[in-house]
């Protein structure tokens, strides 16, 4: 479904609900639109089930944009998706501990598991990046094992340290910078997720695997322990 939503944006909705095949399909749609080389294209913002296309309204109007995008969207829905094979795998090391994950013990108690089991379940799933947003480089990854899914904190923390790994329902993410945040924190990742030169490390459609690391490895990789 393609709908105009404002004077310079159109929203393409691919499915009514989140599923694990969507990130790859959306990444493939982004790729097809980019390759078409439209001179009026300004930006594309993928999210869980949608792709927002931003265009230059001086060059084209919403009818022209819709007409150009329709065949591309149609082709994608009929031919299936080949992007699955090409999608990138990114490994993120995480130091899970009480000192870097102030909610780890709480989550373990809440789930009726011990901390080791929470860590095992969080790091044994291959995640998909479903969306980017909230802050530069903040990647929403899914899906977390239902046994360790946890709601956001009722009162968000004023300051979450950079690199913090959190869970909110069945999503997980790494906070790229210090920011306020309401996710349940279980560890910290020393990898930089956003910098001004390379921009966001992760993009929608990427596969992500998490490797638990020791305190020493975390520090050696440049991780910081500040609360």
């Amino acid at each position: 479904m393609i709908e105009p939503v404002s004077e310079d944006t159109i929203l393409i909705t691919l499915a009514p609900a989140i599923d694990d095949t969507l990130p790859a399909r959306i990444a493939s749609l982004v790729d097809s639109i980019r390759r078409a080389g439209f001179h009026w294209l300004v930006d594309m913002v993928p999210s869980y089930t949608t792709l927002m296309v931003v265009y230059d309204p001086v060059l084209v109007d919403f009818r022209q944009v819709t007409d150009k995008l329709r065949p591309i969207v149609h082709r994608l829905s009929t031919q299936g998706h080949t992007a699955e094979l090409k999608s990138r795998l990114v490994e993120l090391p995480v130091y899970y501990s009480a000192e870097t994950g102030p909610d780890l013990q709480w989550l373990a108690t809440e789930s009726g598991l011990d901390c080791e089991e929470v860590i095992r379940r969080h790091s044994s799933v291959e995640y998909r990046v479903h969306a980017l947003g909230f802050a530069p480089g903040f990647a929403f990854m899914g899906q977390v094992d239902p046994s360790i899914a946890a709601p956001r904190k009722t009162t968000p923390r004023k300051q979450v340290p950079a690199g913090s790994v959190g869970i909110a329902n069945r999503q997980t993410a790494v906070y790229p910078q210090v920011s306020p945040g309401g996710w349940q924190l279980i560890g910290r990742c020393p990898t930089r997720l956003f910098d001004s030169t390379n921009l966001s490390l992760l993009k929608v459609g990427d596969r992500v695997r998490i490797t638990p690391i020791s305190r020493e490895a975390f520090l050696a990789a440049g991780g910081e322990l500040m609360p």
């Binding site: 939503v5 929203l11 949608t50 927002m52 001086v58 980017l132 530069p136 956003f194 993009k203």
Partner: protein, 317 residues
């Protein structure tokens, strides 16, 4: 070389241009001047490039000294401006000599003042723009400070004296009517809630900033529940659980999960952004083609008009 040496930066002054193009998929806000109309006129007065950077001064309270001679233009909120204590007018070109002291008073009617220098402001570019998005806390990107220098990109270029024709100046009176292009979850809102939204008077809350303007008025009864997060267009109207609308502006987040009955046209966002807390706002349904035509006319006017010799009017090329 000439520049302006900042003595009082004001409450929050930031370098702004037309914002970033094509970086929202990294989670970066677009940024850019909140009041596109005043910003654009400041540049047009000086024949600056369309996207040249200006200083966006929130609420005034700004003072600077000219080092060398330079040409500037000030547009936006109604306020009093003086050079060496002598009142000068907004919406026109202004020549400063070495040592001149420029003072912009606190604005009690509107929010934003734009100060352009001939040639455009110089500052480091990042992500294809000079915009400062304070909430992102990126290195070297903060509000203006005392002793900062405002340096033109091309020194010593001057245009003849000009002023924006009165009929082309935006009206920032205390009540604004802003369009609402139906879209996103429009059809999921109850008919009575849409009626309430488009017939009630709202006031601008003091919890309004460059991310978005919160409005207060009759709450919508029964907004649809949260949706799966999706891309947010500039001007999107979010209705959170309390039923009070939030109009998302330049520094807003790139995706979000609150239901949206539609989007406010960007030129109307400019008028909204000029309102102070307590300012009155009404929504009026408008159609997309009209909004798109108005925007296009606005952009074409910049590209395809030039100043008449007397500096009092513009003519189409």
């Amino acid at each position: 070389m000439s520049w302006l040496e900042v003595i009082h930066p004001g409450v929050q002054s930031t370098v702004q241009d037309s914002g970033r193009r094509g970086y929202r998929h990294h989670g970066l806000a677009a940024g850019g001047a909140l009041d596109l109309i005043s910003f654009t006129w400041a540049n047009k007065l000086l024949d600056n490039p369309r996207h040249a950077a200006c200083l966006e001064i929130m609420l005034g309270g700004f003072r600077a000294i000219a080092q060398g001679s330079l040409q500037i233009a000030i547009t936006g909120a109604r306020t009093s401006v003086t050079v060496n204590g002598e009142p000068v007018e907004l919406w026109r070109t202004l020549n400063l000599d070495d040592g001149d002291e420029l003072t912009i008073s606190h604005s009690v009617h509107n929010r934003l003042i734009y100060l352009a220098v001939a040639g455009g402001l110089d500052s480091p570019e990042q992500f294809g723009s000079r915009t400062v998005v304070v909430r992102e806390k990126l290195e070297g990107r903060g509000p203006l400070k005392t002793v900062d220098k405002l340096v033109p990109r091309e020194p010593q270029r001057k245009v003849p004296s000009r002023e924006v024709p009165a009929h082309q100046r935006p009206d920032f009176s205390s009540e604004v009517v802003i369009g609402l292009i139906p879209g996103y979850q429009y059809s999921q809102f109850q008919r009575t809630d849409i009626l309430r939204l488009t017939t009630s008077n709202y006031t601008v809350s003091d919890q309004s900033d460059r991310m978005g303007f919160r409005l207060q008025g009759p709450a919508l009864d029964c907004p649809p529940p949260g949706i799966i997060s999706e891309g947010i267009a500039h001007g999107s109207v979010q209705i959170p659980g309390d039923g009070q609308p939030i109009v998302l502006l330049n520094d807003g987040q790139t995706i979000g999960g609150y239901p949206k009955p539609g989007v406010v046209p960007i030129l109307d966002c400019s008028r909204l952004a000029q309102q102070l807390p307590g300012g009155r706002v009404r929504f009026e349904l408008c159609d997309l083609a009209t909004a798109q035509n108005q925007r296009r006319l606005f952009e074409l006017h910049y590209q395809n008009t030039r100043w008449c010799q007397n500096g009092q009017a513009l003519e189409w090329l």
